[in-house]
């Protein structure tokens, strides 16, 4: 009767600590430049080393420039951070997938594409979107820097188990409705803190039919609903995705692992702490209008009116410069951003390109595509997608986190409004304190770029 959560948790549980917490073994530790330098310094102060460099892998994603990636970077602070990561990895024997490797990219894109991410693992990373890896049936969660220190030192963490909420999505998604719309609808329904204390298990025939890329988009934004972990039970889609990936065993060893992966799926009669069901047919292309990812509407729906609503609604509308009761459609956009760990994979670029093909970016709109990894970029270029984008007036950039959080040079200025395929519409998130973000699917971003305003992509398919 156990869920996948219980099976994987139990397999990694070492002991109950005197505080009552569980000591949990971490099967894969992903490291990047922003949340690790202080952790390595703490190790040094305590005279500790890295316990399992063989279970640790690093890349650089948050601060990399996407235009010229020549070293040294133009930003000395960014250069200093990469330099520190290189030194720390060298000192502790940690593999670093750097810009010269051909395999660099957003940590949550490269883990899966290399086959580092596998079902049944516990995966930790100093990044809240680590929940992405749950798409494979792993327990994957974001941690803070002091916990990065603990994992480096011991390959374990002191944690509390979570409750499990099963979220079933059933039925067919309409054309023009994507995984991004499904997760935005889930967060809208359950709230941005509805998942605190829970792991989200996504299932139902809609999810089961999804590709791994789509499942990653869903699991990625679990944290935006407050759930530190989101996962999908491993199935044949998962296994076939992993077969032949560089960091996955071959032949009989693969089949043995695959048999174990299948055994980890939640039992059919598993008991859950809570259950929720959504009908796929009720989900429209969805757009956020506010300052957190739960504030969204279907593209055909009017914005909420502040009267009678919590003060938060009026505040958010005022910050966004939007008028309650009016449709979100027709809102002019200044910038269009396609990328991020939510929607920067090859299938996302294909969906966006299918909208862009034969069309032009509206005048006055700054539009850019930032592939999630060097491998995504290379695969897209082999298909000629970069030419589809550039001939339409998009900029085609190097891989990284880029304007999802604007730690590099890619950012909004002033009150610019950005149609974005990323995951957070927080105030100031895209680099300008007064900049505004509307989250939507990559296809909807492409449609907005072409129309110069928020528009229903279904009319352009």
């Amino acid at each position: 009767m156990p869920t996948l959560f219980e099976k994987v948790w139990n397999a990694h549980s070492v002991r109950r600590l005197p505080t009552g917490q569980t000591q949990l073994f971490v099967g894969l530790h992903l490291v990047h430049e922003v949340t690790s330098p202080q952790a390595f310094d703490m190790l040094r102060l305590r005279g500790l080393g890295v316990r399992r460099p063989d279970r640790t892998i690093a890349t650089v994603d948050h601060i990399v420039p996407t235009r010229s990636q020549a070293r040294p970077f133009r930003d000395p602070l960014a250069e200093g951070m990469l330099d520190a990561l290189e030194r720390n990895c060298r000192e502790h024997g940690i593999e670093l997938l750097d810009l010269a490797s051909g395999r660099q990219g957003i940590v949550h894109v490269i883990g899966p594409e290399l086959g580092l991410t596998q079902p049944g693992m516990t995966i930790a990373c100093g990044d809240s979107h680590t929940s992405t890896h749950g798409a494979f049936g792993a327990l994957a969660f974001g941690i803070g820097t002091s916990q990065v220190r603990d994992v480096l030192a011991s390959q374990t963490l002191a944690l509390e188990p979570l409750k499990v909420r099963r979220i079933d999505v059933t039925g067919e998604l309409a054309p023009g409705v994507y995984a991004k719309d499904v997760i935005l609808a889930i967060i809208n329904r359950l709230g941005v803190d509805g998942g605190v204390g829970f792991a989200y298990e996504y299932g139902g025939d809609t999810i089961e039919r999804m590709s791994m890329d789509e499942r990653m988009t869903i699991c990625n934004m679990s944290i935006e609903g407050g759930a530190r972990i989101g996962y999908v039970n491993p199935d044949e889609t998962t296994i076939e995705y992993l077969r032949g990936r560089p960091r996955v065993p071959e032949g009989e060893a693969f089949e043995r692992l695959a048999a174990w992966w299948r055994s980890l799926a939640s039992d059919v009669d598993a008991t859950y702490d809570d259950r929720v069901e959504l009908k796929a047919a009720s989900i429209e292309p969805t757009v956020t209008w506010g300052t957190h990812p739960g504030q969204s509407v279907g593209v055909g729906q009017p914005l909420p009116t502040p009267g009678g609503a919590p003060a938060e609604v009026a505040d958010a509308l005022a910050f966004m410069g939007l008028e309650g009761g009016r449709p979100i459609q027709g809102t002019p956009v200044d910038v269009a951003f396609i990328g991020s760990c939510t929607n920067g994979r090859l299938s996302d670029l294909r969906e966006a390109a299918s909208v862009v093909r034969g069309r032009r970016v509206a005048s006055g709109v700054r539009a850019m595509v930032v592939p999630g990894s060097q491998q995504v970029a290379a695969a897209a270029e082999r298909e000629g997608l970069h030419e589809v984008f550039t001939s339409a007036g998009f900029e085609w950039r190097g891989a990284g986190c880029s304007m999802c959080l604007a730690m590099n040079e890619d950012r909004l200025t002033g009150r610019e409004l950005c149609a974005s395929s990323s995951n957070r519409n927080f105030r100031g998130r895209q680099g300008s304190p007064t900049g505004r973000t509307l989250l939507m699917s990559p296809a909807m971003v492409a449609a907005a770029a072409v129309a110069g305003e928020v528009t229903d992509v279904r009319r352009m398919l």
């Binding site: 397999a11 549980s13 070492v14 002991r15 600590l17 005197p18 505080t19 009552g20 917490q21 000591q23 099967g27 922003v34 949340t35 330098p37 310094d41 305590r46 500790l48 399992r52 948050h62 601060i63 960014a78 200093g80 951070m81 520190a84 596998q118 049944g120 974001g142 941690i143 803070g144 820097t145 002091s146 916990q147 603990d150 030192a153 011991s154 390959q155 374990t156 002191a158 509390e160 941005v192 803190d193 605190v196 204390g197 935006e224 407050g226 060893a253 043995r256 692992l257 957190h292 938060e312 959080l405 604007a406 730690m407 957070r424 105030r427 100031g428 998130r429 680099g431 304190p433 007064t434």
Partner: protein, 201 residues
């Protein structure tokens, strides 16, 4: 290890739900390899916006300058896992946070420098904020062991998960040494995992 059973000091009321870690410390200030100096940038954009509007952000308001207990509302610290956020707040002089609810990652990250986050009801959070706005000099006591917050005549229930309370009270909130203890048990668990076995074959 230092035990944390009680925090006493002045309050700093910060009203609003879902205050995310990007607001607490905008990403551009994370371009650093240390936590030193982050306190200068805590709520940087919100503070600048308040100044531009001709108002004063609570973190810039003179009566709260020496405050050590931050009082917030619902889902405080949501979003990014950046420990820079609680570090910036801690380095500004805050030693405990009282609020209606907290994001899980922020809660855990706050324990790391020894800054407990305790939960009170929505009404009590609002009452504490109003009291401090009226009387900034009020001394507030967060009693971790007893599970209460006291401000003047007002004493309210403050919840903290049992494990976190135990860790703070016994001084075991820095887990590294504990995790390295009895390491043979860790190795036994690791070696039994099929993917670890497959990788070492």
């Amino acid at each position: 290890m230092t035990s944390i059973t009680r925090v006493e000091g002045r309050g700093l009321p910060l009203v609003g739900h879902n205050i995310d870690t990007d607001r607490i410390i905008p990403a551009r200030f994370l371009r650093t390899v240390s936590f030193d100096g982050l306190e200068a940038h805590v709520f940087a954009d919100d503070r600048a916006a308040a100044t531009a509007d001709g108002t004063v952000h609570p973190f810039d308001d003179a009566p709260y300058e020496t405050a050590s207990i931050l009082i917030v509302n619902e889902n405080f610290g949501c979003g990014s896992s950046r420990e820079h956020a609680p570090q910036a707040i801690y380095r500004r002089g805050i030693r405990a946070i009282v609020g209606e609810s907290f994001s899980e990652i922020f809660f855990g990250n706050s324990v790391m420098p020894g800054m407990p986050c305790v939960s009170v009801s929505a009404d009590h959070a609002a009452a504490l904020q109003a009291l401090v706005e009226r009387e900034p000099a009020t001394s507030i006591v967060v009693d971790i062991a007893a599970g209460t917050v006291t401000a003047g005549d007002l004493t309210v229930e403050a919840r903290l998960p049992a494990n976190a309370r135990e860790a703070l009270v016994t001084g075991a909130w820095d887990a590294t040494a504990l995790l390295l203890d009895r390491y043979d048990e860790v190795e036994r668990v690791a070696d039994a995992l099929p993917y670890i076995a497959a990788a070492s074959r």
